[in-house]
C-alpha cells in the first residue's frame, strides 16, 4: 500500500491555497504535514480526502484514485465535529455504519475504543455534555472504529491535557505498530519529532521543505551548541568568533559555523581549568528548522553553508 500526492493545486477564486503539493508515503508510519496557520494544511487534507475539488494533480492510494467512500480511511478533524444533541454511542454506531461496519462489529469496536480512551463513563451522554477533550476522544474513536488503513489526524493533541495527550500518543504508537499509514498535522514539534520520519513543511500554499527528518537535520549539521560552566566562558567564546544567542540558567546557547569551532571553544575552556557542567553540540530541532523555514527567528545555516 502507498499514498501518492502529485502536483496538487487548489485555488479559491484567484487565490491559491495550495500552489504545488507532492509527496509520497511508501510504507506504514507517521507522515507529518506541518505549516503555519493558513499555510494550507487543512485544505491539503480535505483535498486528499476528496472533500474539496482540486484544480490539478492526483491523489492515489494503492495505485488507484483515492475514494474515501470505498476505502478504509479514518479522519480526526481539527475542530470538534459531533452532533451536539445526540448520544455519543448512537453517533458512533452511525459513523461506523457509514463506513460499512456491521452492527455487531461496531458495538465491539465502540466498546473497545471508549474503554481504551477512558471515555466509557460518558457513553450515555450527549456530545454537548462532554468537555472538549472528551469530545476529542470520541472523535478519535469515530476515526478508528472502522480499523482504517490510512489515518489522518489534524491537530490530534490540540486542547488535550498532558495525561490525555500521552493517551493519544500511545494509541498512535499502537497504530504504527499495526503498520498503519498515518498523516499527522500538528503545531507541536516535539510530538512530531516523537513519531514522524518524513515531513512536509508548507508556507502560504507552497512546500518549503520536505523529506526524511533525520536527513534534513543531518543536512543542517550539528551546529547548535549549549554550554554551562562554573565560570564565565564568554571571553573564550568571543575568541572563537562565537556570539551567544541566549543565556539562561541552563547555559549559554551558541550557533557555530562548524564542529571544529565548537571543539576550539571546548579546548580553551578545558585549558583554562574551568569546570564544565554541560557541553552539548546537536543538530537543530524541528522547531528551529520550522521557524527558520516559515518565518522570523534565527537563520540556521546548514553544515555545508557554514563551512568556514
Amino acid at each position: 500500500m502507498s499514498l501518492h500526492v502529485e502536483n496538487v493545486r487548489k485555488k479559491y477564486g484567484d487565490y491559491y491555497a495550495i500552489k504545488h503539493l507532492s509527496f509520497s508515503i511508501e510504507r506504514p508510519g507517521v507522515f507529518a504535514l506541518l505549516g503555519t496557520n493558513g499555510a494550507g494544511k487543512t485544505t491539503a487534507i480535505r483535498v486528499i480526502l476528496g472533500m474539496l475539488a482540486k484544480e490539478s494533480g492526483t491523489v492515489t492510494w494503492n495505485g488507484r484514485p483515492l475514494d474515501v467512500v470505498n476505502e478504509k480511511i479514518g479522519y480526526l478533524a481539527e475542530e470538534r465535529g459531533l452532533y451536539p444533541k445526540y448520544n455519543i454511542v448512537e453517533q458512533l454506531h452511525h459513523f461506523a455504519e457509514l463506513k460499512g461496519v456491521k452492527k455487531k462489529a461496531a458495538t465491539t469496536a465502540i466498546d473497545y475504543w471508549l474503554e481504551r480512551l477512558k471515555a466509557d463513563e460518558h457513553r450515555k451522554k450527549r456530545a454537548d455534555q462532554l468537555s472538549k477533550g472528551n469530545q476529542q476522544k470520541v472523535q478519535l474513536a469515530a476515526a478508528l472504529i472502522s480499523d482504517p488503513e490510512l489515518l489522518i489526524l489534524d491537530e490530534p493533541m490540540s486542547g488535550l491535557d498532558p495525561v490525555n495527550a500521552d493517551l493519544f500518543k500511545e494509541v498512535i504508537r499502537e497504530q504504527i505498530a499495526r503498520n498503519k499509514f498515518v498523516i499527522m498535522s500538528s503545531h507541536q514539534m516535539s510530538t512530531v519529532e516523537e513519531f514522524c520520519e518524513n515531513i512536509v513543511i508548507m508556507n502560504r500554499g507552497d512546500v518549503v521543505l520536505q523529506g526524511n527528518l533525520n536527513e534534513i537535520k543531518k543536512g543542517y549539521g550539528r551546529v547548535n551548541l549549549s554550554v554551562k560552566a562554573d565560570a564565565n566562558i564568554l571571553p573564550f567564546a568571543k575568541e572563537c568568533g562565537l556570539e551567544p544567542l541566549s543565556q539562561t540558567p541552563n547555559g549559554i546557547d551558541f550557533k557555530t559555523k562548524s564542529e571544529s569551532q565548537a571543539q576550539e571553544l571546548l579546548g580553551k575552556i578545558v585549558n583554562a581549568g574551568i569546570t564544565l557542567v554541560k557541553f552539548e553540540l546537536r543538530e537543530p530541532s524541528l522547531h528551529e528548522i520550522f521557524v527558520e523555514k516559515v518565518g522570523g527567528g534565527n537563520v540556521i545555516k546548514s553544515g555545508e553553508d557554514c563551512a568556514g
Binding site: V68, L82, Y83, L98
Partner: protein, 456 residues
C-alpha cells in the same frame, strides 16, 4: 456511486428526529389540539344551548319543545287572519294587543323580570311582512336564540295566513316552494351543485393550507439538519464516508418520511376523535349519524358524495404521491439553503425566499376560489402546473373529482421533471458549498458553480 450511503443517513436522521423530545411533544400537542377542536365542534353547540324543555302527550311521546318565553304580546298590523293556536302547543301564552298598548307593553318587556316578549307584525314595502320581536335586556330569562326559535313559529303562522289570503291552497304552496336543485356543467356533462361547489371551495382552502403548513414547517427540518451538521462540523466527518449528495438525499428523504409519519399520527388521532364524537353533535348531523331536520345540514349531507366524488383509493394514492414530490421539491431547496450558510444564526434569513415561494404557491391556489373563480380560471389552471403550487392545488382538485386523467398526469410529470432537474442542479452545487465557510452563498454564485472549474 455518488449517493451511496443515503439510506443510512435517512435512517439515522429519521430515528433521531422522531425520538427527540421536541418532536414528540410537538406532535402530541398538535394531535391533542386538533382532536380538541374536532370534539368541541361536535359538543359545543349542545353545551351552549339550554336543556330543551320537552312537551309530551298522554302516552309520553314528545310532541314539542317548550319555549323559554312565557308569554308573547302580539300586535297584528296586517290584514291577515293569523292563527296562533300553535303557540300553546309550545307552552307560550299569547295576547293580542292594540296599537295604544304597544308602548306600555314595551316598557314592561324591557324593565320587568318576566319572560315576556312583544311581537309586531306588519307589512313591508317589498310586498312581504316584518315580524319584529322585542325581548328583555337581561338574557337570564330570554336570550336571542329563544326569540329566534319562537320567530320560526311566527314565520310559519304568517306564511300560512298569507297563503290563504292569496287564495292558494297549502298543497300548491308547498309544491311551489320545493327545493330547486341548481348546478353548473360544461358541455352538457353532469356538473356540481352550488352546495357542492361551496364544499369544494372549503375543502380546497383547508387542504391547501394544511399542505402549506406541512411543507413549510417540515421542509425546513432539512435546512436545519444540514446547517447544524455544517456548523457543528459533523459534515467533515460524514464526508470521509459518503459523498455530499448522499447526505442531502438522505436528509431530504428523512424529512419527507418525518412529515408523512406526523400526518399519519396526527391524522389518525384526529380521525378517531371525529368518529368517536360524531354521534354527539353538529358533525354527526352532517354526516348522517345523528338525525336532523335542519335543511342546511340535509342539503350538505346530500351533496357530500358529489363534493367528494374523487375520494377513492387511486386518487388518495395520487394525492400522497403529489404531496411527496411537492415536499421533495421544497425540501431540496431547503437543503441547498442549509448548505449555503456557515452559521446556524443565518438560517432564518436564508429561509425567507423559501417561505415567500411557498406562500406565493399557496395564494395562487386558494385565492381564486375565495373570489369565486371558475375551474377554468387561468390562475387556477396555472397553479396546477407550476411546481411551486401544484402540490397545494392538485390534491383538492383530484379529491373533488373535477380533473381528467391528462389534467392530473401532465402537471405531475411537470413536477417530477422539475424535481429531477433541480436535483441535478443541487447535486452539482452542493459538493462545492457544503464545506464553504464565510458569507452565505448566493444564488448567483451557485449558478456560476455549475459551469466547469468555477468556485466561490
Amino acid at each position: 456511486m455518488r449517493i451511496k450511503g443515503w439510506k443510512k443517513v435517512l435512517k439515522f436522521t429519521f430515528m433521531q428526529t422522531i425520538k427527540a423530545k421536541t418532536f414528540i411533544w410537538g406532535t402530541a400537542i398538535t394531535a391533542l389540539l386538533l382532536s380538541a377542536m374536532i370534539a368541541l365542534g361536535n359538543f359545543l353547540p349542545g353545551w351552549l344551548s339550554d336543556e330543551p324543555n320537552l312537551i309530551t302527550d298522554d302516552q309520553g311521546n314528545i310532541i314539542a319543545v317548550a319555549s323559554e318565553i312565557d308569554k308573547v304580546y302580539i300586535y297584528n298590523n296586517t290584514e291577515l287572519q293569523l292563527d296562533f293556536s300553535a303557540l300553546p302547543i309550545i307552552d307560550v301564552r299569547y295576547e293580542l294587543i292594540s296599537q295604544d298598548q304597544i308602548n306600555q307593553i314595551m316598557e314592561r318587556v324591557t324593565e320587568s323580570d318576566e319572560a315576556i316578549v312583544l311581537t309586531l307584525i306588519s307589512p313591508n314595502e317589498h310586498g312581504s311582512f316584518d315580524v319584529v320581536m322585542s325581548r328583555p335586556e337581561s338574557t337570564e330569562l330570554i336570550n336571542a336564540n329563544d326569540c329566534f326559535e319562537l320567530l320560526v313559529t311566527f314565520e310559519g303562522i304568517v306564511r300560512v295566513a298569507n297563503v290563504e289570503y292569496l287564495g292558494i291552497t297549502m298543497e300548491d304552496f308547498m309544491a311551489a316552494n320545493a327545493f330547486i336543485h341548481t348546478s353548473v356543467n360544461v358541455g352538457g356533462e353532469e356538473g356540481r351543485s352550488a352546495v357542492a361547489e361551496g364544499i369544494g371551495a372549503v375543502v380546497t382552502t383547508v387542504f391547501s393550507i394544511l399542505l402549506f403548513v406541512l411543507i413549510i414547517t417540515y421542509s425546513q427540518l432539512t435546512s436545519q439538519a444540514i446547517a447544524t451538521e455544517k456548523s457543528s462540523r459533523v459534515m467533515e466527518l460524514l464526508l470521509t464516508s459518503i459523498k455530499p449528495l448522499a447526505v442531502v438525499v438522505g436528509k431530504v428523504l428523512a424529512s419527507t418520511l418525518v412529515v408523512l409519519f406526523t400526518v399519519v399520527i396526527v391524522g389518525g388521532v384526529a380521525t378517531a376523535t371525529f368518529f368517536i364524537t360524531a354521534p354527539y353533535g353538529a358533525i354527526g348531523e352532517i354526516i348522517g349519524s345523528v338525525p336532523t331536520d335542519d335543511p342546511m345540514f340535509m342539503e350538505i349531507r346530500a351533496e357530500l358524495p358529489n363534493a367528494f366524488a374523487g375520494f377513492n383509493p387511486l386518487n388518495i394514492a395520487l394525492i400522497v404521491v403529489i404531496f411527496v414530490f411537492g415536499f421533495l421539491f421544497y425540501s431540496l431547496i431547503a437543503g441547498l439553503i442549509g448548505a449555503s450558510v456557515s452559521k446556524i444564526e443565518d438560517l432564518q434569513t436564508a429561509n425567507q425566499p423559501l417561505a415567500i415561494l411557498a406562500t406565493l404557491g399557496l395564494y395562487m391556489t386558494y385565492f381564486p376560489f375565495i373570489f369565486g373563480a371558475d375551474n377554468d380560471n387561468t390562475l387556477i389552471i396555472l397553479s396546477r402546473y407550476l411546481p411551486i403550487s401544484s402540490a397545494f392545488a392538485l390534491p383538492p382538485a383530484i379529491l373533488s373529482g373535477e380533473l381528467s386523467g391528462s389534467e392530473i398526469a401532465i402537471p405531475l410529470l411537470v413536477l417530477i421533471a422539475t424535481l429531477v432537474l433541480f436535483a441535478l442542479f443541487v447535486a452539482k452545487v452542493y459538493e462545492h458549498i457544503i464545506l464553504h465557510n464565510g458569507d452565505r452563498v448566493k444564488i448567483g454564485d451557485m449558478i456560476k458553480m455549475i459551469k466547469p472549474d468555477k468556485e466561490v
